[in-house]
């Protein structure tokens, strides 16, 4: 999934293959997350949970359940109103807007193989994280659209989903600002390259005031932080722990993930925005919710957990160390494998953190979600931003 400068036929083949690969990846991840969600909820509730679906006697602890659910939804007949334009196409737009952000999610760093350098990133868009914000807004709009056209509880759900989404958007923007201030970039790959280093916990000013050249994806070792003495990974979560909690909460509110899904919950509003949907279009909402869980986990991993970077072993050190024995190409290949494994570990941890939250916290009413955004996250993000700016300003003027 690399970006080439020339628009030759090889480029098109590469982009098509990369898109297909991304589609396959999401196609594997979504059922896994759906399965994990139900298994984990059953474990927390001390229930047996799913596990009785089997193909030719092979059960695999209920791994086929998402497939069975999908077939059930597809075979169901939607309500008559599904034939009208907005209700039918709204959920499809919700799914499309949930898939497209993954184009800008980098899954690995940049590696060289012979003369070519590549990275597992489909589209290195200029807006970076703002592109993901924009698509989240499109998804929110599609949710409102597919609810509002229904009337009744669907209309009420649409109003609430709009208000909740906008509040979450604002809270997310302001809670991400301190991290943008630290990284000085919108590009997720550059943020990870920045975090691929260490800082000294007890010697922070010295570490920060080191010579800071602009970090870039192509030179991951050029991080503004330099290490002196025992170091700690320069991950966002260690540099700014409050921002992690704020972003996790705000992103969940923005995406309407449980426990912030009052406007589409059966128990609160008879399904709300989903009330008049059935069959495939109802399945689209479930699909979009899983995609957003994956997206939030990926974003948290990239911004706060150093993405694919391995703690205490920067990419340059790792590649250099292996290249001494096995050559440059093999070293890069091994590094890619290790980085993918590192990303996967952190990503799974973030998915389970979200599942733990949704299975242990009661669902918040819509007003309380709004209050959380406006009266707790937003002021806290203001304070966090001011403190971050103050500390950065105090530690060394020429950080960026």
């Amino acid at each position: 999934m690399s970006q080439e400068e020339t628009l030759g036929s090889a480029f098109w083949v590469l982009v098509a293959a990369a898109s297909l690969l991304l589609g396959v990846l999401l196609g594997v991840l979504v059922p896994l997350v759906a399965w994990a969600e139900r298994k984990q909820a059953a474990l927390v509730g001390e229930r047996p949970g799913i596990g009785r679906t089997a193909i030719a006697g092979v059960g695999l602890a209920g791994l086929f359940q998402p497939l069975a659910d999908t077939l059930k939804l597809l075979s169901k007949r939607g309500p008559a109103s599904t034939a009208r334009f907005a209700p039918a196409w709204g959920p499809a737009l919700v799914v499309i807007a949930a898939v497209l952000p993954f184009a800008a999610i980098p899954w690995s760093g940049r590696y060289t193989w012979g003369d070519t350098s590549f990275s597992l990133l489909l589209a290195d868009v200029e807006g970076g994280i703002l592109y993901i914000f924009a698509l989240a807004a499109v998804g929110g709009l599609a949710t409102v659209w597919s609810g509002a056209a229904q009337g009744g509880v669907g209309l009420i759900g649409a109003f609430r989903s709009a208000a909740r989404g906008l509040s979450g958007d604002l809270a997310l923007l302001f809670s991400l600002l301190p991290m943008l201030l630290i990284f000085g970039s919108l590009h997720l790959a550059e943020m990870v390259a920045w975090q691929d280093s260490g800082f000294s916990l007890f010697d922070l000013p010295v570490a920060f005031s080191a010579d800071a050249s602009s970090p870039s994806a192509s030179s991951p070792s050029a991080s503004p932080l330099s290490a002196s003495g025992p170091t700690w990974p320069a991950w966002g979560i260690f540099l700014n722990p409050p921002a992690f909690v704020l972003v996790l909460t705000a992103a969940s509110v923005r995406a309407g993930l449980p426990p912030f899904n009052a406007e589409s919950a059966d128990a609160e509003l008879m399904g709300g925005t989903r009330s008049a949907h059935a069959g495939a279009s109802l399945g689209f909402f479930a699909l979009a919710a899983r995609l957003q869980t994956i997206l939030v986990a990926a974003l948290l991993t990239l911004v706060f957990l150093g993405g694919w970077s391995i703690p205490w072993i920067p990419q340059a050190t790792l590649v250099g160390g292996i290249a001494e024995y096995l050559g440059d190409g093999v070293a890069n290949a091994i590094c890619l494998g290790l980085h993918l494994a590192s990303f996967a570990c952190k990503f799974v941890a973030m998915v389970f953190l979200q599942l733990m939250i949704r299975s242990s916290l009661p669902r918040l009413g819509y007003e309380r979600s709004m209050d959380l955004c406006w009266k707790i996250i937003l002021p806290a993000a203001f304070i966090d931003l001011a403190l971050t700016a103050l500390v950065l300003n105090g530690l060394g003027g020429d950080l960026a």
């Binding site: 982009v15 056209a149 923007l173 302001f174 406006w374 937003l378 020429d398």
Partner: protein, 110 residues
């Protein structure tokens, strides 16, 4: 613009099957209206969303715009020196005061 080619290809890859699925799911429907939840007469929007809703909406627009401007500040200037830091502080201060005022006036609900 070459970097957006990937986005467009992904859009085609995801969009076409999704829309085909929608068209397939909606096949042969539309005439029957006996299903529950059929909005034969969609209710009107709530008569008055109220001034509170309007105030919250204005607060959102102001803060969102300010937030986007601060993204540019965080990337371009950052806390490079005292001057840039003071500029940002001067920008944020009225914003914070305004937010506190709106909160006090009850624009954010009870």
């Amino acid at each position: 613009m070459a970097e957006y080619v990937g986005v467009l290809v992904l859009l085609a890859l995801i969009g076409v099957p999704t829309l085909l699925l929608v068209a397939w799911a909606a096949r042969g429907q539309g005439s029957s209206s006996a299903e529950a939840g059929d909005p034969s007469s969609p209710p009107e929007a709530p008569e008055s969303a109220g001034l509170g809703f309007f105030l919250a909406a204005v607060a959102f627009v102001v803060l969102e715009g300010a937030g986007l401007l601060m993204v540019a500040w965080a990337l371009a200037a950052g806390p490079r020196g005292q001057a840039e830091w003071l500029q940002a502080a001067l920008f944020v201060l009225p914003l914070t005061v305004g937010f506190a005022y709106a909160w006090r006036k009850g624009a954010l609900g009870r």
